[in-house]
Amino acid sequence: MKQTIVRNVAELPTFGFGPRSGPWWGAMGFMALEGMGFAIAIGTYLYLYAVNPTWPIGASPPDLWPGTVEAALYLLSIIPNEYTNRVAQRQDLPRVRICLIVMSLIGIVLLVLRGFEFAHLNTRWDNSAYGSVVWLILGLHTTHLATDVGDTVVLAVLMFTHHAKPRRFSDVTDNVFYWNFVVLAWLPLYFLLDWVPRL
């Protein structure tokens, strides 16, 4: 077919931040479907809660401190996370490096805490349907946590190599965005796991 050039896009940038970039929308899509996964897991918990006359079944509720400490740490981590976002937008490489290291360390601390939380659930996965569903939900969230920590560590290493090109700053902001999702997902799960059995 014959063609007529009607405009020129040569002056456009070669990467963008947030909704202007493709990967941001990809992260958004995965968050939507993973969020749905959490919603289904919560629904499963509530269904079992509704059909069982006693809850928790044959166990005492989880010890409060690991989940609570995690919740606090998650909320506090938003501050360095948002700072990471800002320095990445400014393409400030030295600060981005420091921030990524900090965020990696926070993630690792949270993973360790998560280990304690499993140990303090006061039930095993094979005790009852209650035990099964709390292990499932905690496992699901831990998978997200571990994935994002892994991603943060890899990005941190990447930013110390010669690949630390401008486009990578957009990847850093997407990682920030995903971390906020991991934090936000934890809050209802924390309430569900630690407080609903005490209602």
Partner: protein
């Protein structure tokens, strides 16, 4: 932030020179390794389509085996054990390995062309998705050939599928096949959403998006919100079987109905995941062969969205006979029937389009007409099964078998066959034979109805589903024999299609860019399209760009001619925003898929696979995302 200005841009090249240059940077590398590295949406899409059709062939052979067994009373052609494996494999193959993947496959091939871009969003994820689908399908079928094929139905109800009643690996194979195909489907869904949101050609505002693309967008959202439910379900089933969790164990606080809720919360939208793309194909074919745009473009889009929302509110109609509260069940009757409204609106729009058009009766249109006749029957019998009292009689009988084959074959496979005739010239550069196509259509139409219409009556006169045989005194044998005859006629139509495809690939007439004189962008490029799809990205000024600008296509210039670059545009107005790099071919998606396959299959044998299976996956993923130092990566 623009890349350095010495870069070679497309405006400094012309015609053949530009074509050749773009082809050089976008083509799939040669050789076997190159083929395994391909991230071209057309290459992956073609593989996806061919693989899905191969599974259709396998699933169809199983259907024929069942029809032989049921052709007469008390036949011993299949043992009960084989029969149960076969009907489970038939359902699982058709739903998870054919219907959903084939629709996504067409989208992988067509959506980037229809929205006027060079590649799908996340091309490596796309390649990964295909490998996962292929490996998952092979895993299921190899298990079946080794006599560990699942035999608990495509719905795998607990407790039948629990370790106690299925102590073999058969139910694990089923559950893990689900995980494979869901990973594949979810990946494609995200790619399609981002492709439609961000990669549309400049000027393709929301109200200029082709209807097939709209349909696939809605489908992609349905996949994203429905499939997590079956992922949770299949994971918990495997955990129950493997590490003794108690999700479905009624003696430890679990409940078998939890499974049914989770399964059908996915399972009902699943029907629309299959059907909505079919409606998109119908709208495209109808516009081209009625020689006018489809009437009610906004009505059709709103209907698609309404169907999407409603489809999440009616899963309970699969559970009317499980003893749920009566009033609740009655409300689900109403919500289930309401979906007839948006479906009906689409039918009315299509009828009006034909009424006003100047129809050209080529094979694709024949299949669309067949679709209308069959699908309306399926929709109406759907209204019947939505009624609680009627459902208590017909549930789990051949009436329901008839109903959903009318919906799925009528609503999805007929449009799909039309789509094969319609887009084959674009994909291969050659036309399918029209005279064979007519035979194909009539055999399919007659065979289908002879095979499935009698099943309505069989269900009403008492024949339940999933029985491997019946006695002569039940009075079901003649209708069953008729149905089997019809099934073989229907199968013959697919044999004709296969022959037509094989013949036409070599001897078919050359297609040219736009053999049907259609209106959408995929017809603006050559057949088959070059690796980069378009020499220059089109600018869209009309809903039917090739009808509105039939002389000369408006295009943009300024994209790189020395590295892979796609144009990102804004969500609503499709204003150009960014020239983003698009990934190069890579072997890592395949390696990641292999690592994931090892992880998935290993984990049905030992929970330790989660430990030793994770590092290879992590390593391959890092390899996938680690920059290679090429210009694409370093922009």
């Amino acid at each position: 932030m623009a890349a350095d200005d010495r870069e070679l841009r497309d405006e400094s090249l012309d015609g053949l020179q530009l074509s050749a240059q773009l082809e050089r940077i976008w083509r799939t590398p040669s050789g076997l390794l190159g083929a395994l590295m391909s991230v071209d949406h057309k290459v992956v899409g073609r593989r996806y389509i061919v693989t899905a059709f191969a599974f259709l062939l396998l699933g169809g052979i199983l259907a024929m085996l069942m029809r032989v067994q049921l052709a007469g009373p008390e036949k011993t052609f299949l043992s009960p054990d084989k029969y149960n494996q076969i009907f489970t494999m038939h359902g699982s193959t058709m739903m998870f390995l054919f219907a959903v993947p084939v629709m996504e496959a067409f989208a992988v091939y067509l959506v980037p062309l229809m929205v006027g871009t060079r590649n799908i969003a996340f091309p490596r994820l796309n390649a990964f998705s295909f490998w996962m689908f292929l490996f998952g399908g092979c895993f299921l079928w190899i298990s079946f050939l080794l006599n560990v094929g699942p035999d608990v139905g495509w719905f795998a109800y607990v407790p039948l599928s629990s370790l106690q009643f299925t102590p073999t690996k058969r139910a694990d194979v089923w559950a893990q096949m689900i995980t494979f195909t869901e990973v594949a489907a979810l990946a494609v869904a995200v790619e399609i959403v981002v492709t439609v949101f961000k990669l549309r050609a400049p000027g393709m505002t929301l109200d200029r998006i082709p209807l097939f693309v709209w349909a696939m967008l809605v489908t992609a959202f349905l996949v994203m919100f429905a499939m997590p439910s079956i992922m949770v379900a299949s994971t918990s089933l495997i955990l129950d079987r493997l590490v003794n969790t108690r999700f479905y164990d009624s003696s430890s606080g679990g409940h078998p109905l939890l499974w049914q809720h989770l399964f059908w919360f996915f399972g009902h939208p699943e029907v629309y995941i299959i059907f909505i793309p079919g409606t998109g194909m119908v709208s495209m074919i109808l516009a081209t062969f009625a020689r006018r745009p489809v009437i009610g473009y906004p009505v059709i889009i709103l209907s698609l969205i309404a169907i999407g929302f409603l489809s999440f509110g009616l899963w309970v109609h699969h559970m009317f006979v499980t003893g749920l509260p009566q009033l609740g069940a009655g409300l689900f009757t109403a919500s289930s029937m309401l979906i007839a409204v948006p479906s009906g609106l689409q039918i009315f729009c299509w009828l009006a389009t034909l009424w006003d058009g100047r129809p050209v009766y080529r094979t694709p249109l024949l299949f669309v007409l067949g679709f209308i006749a069959i699908f309306v029957i399926g929709g109406l019998s759907g209204v019947m099964v939505a009624s609680v009292p009627i459902d208590t009689q017909v549930h789990d009988t051949y009436f329901v078998v008839a109903h959903f084959h009318y919906v799925l074959i009528g609503g999805a496979v007929f449009p799909l066959l039309g789509a094969v005739y319609y887009w084959f010239p674009k994909i291969t550069g050659r036309m399918l034979s029209e005279s064979v196509g007519r035979w194909n259509f009539w055999l399919a139409f007659i065979g289908f109805n002879v095979a499935f219409f009698p099943m309505h009556i069989l269900g009403l006169i008492g024949m339940p589903r999933r029985v491997y045989t019946y006695t002569a005194e039940m009075g079901w044998e003649r209708l069953n024999l008729l149905s089997s005859v019809g099934a073989f006629i229907f199968a013959l139509s697919f044999a004709l299609l296969l022959a037509n495809v094989i013949y036409s690939l070599r001897k078919g007439a050359r297609a040219g860019d736009n053999p049907w004189n259609a209106s959408t962008l995929e017809w603006a490029t050559s057949s088959p399209p070059p690796p980069h799809n378009f020499d220059r990205i089109p600018v869209v000024k009309h809903r039917d760009p090739l009808w509105a600008d039939s002389e000369s296509l408006p295009v943009v210039a300024g994209l790189s001619a020395e590295r892979r670059e796609v144009l990102l545009t804004s969500l609503a107005e499709a204003e150009p925003q960014v020239r983003e790099a698009s990934p190069e071919p890579s072997i890592w998606p395949l390696l990641t898929a292999i690592a994931t396959t090892v992880f998935f299959i290993g984990s049905i044998f030992t929970p330790w696979a989660v430990l030793w299976g994770t590092p290879p996956m992590a390593i391959t993923l890092i390899g996938w995302f680690w920059p290679t130092g090429s210009r694409e990566d370093e922009a």
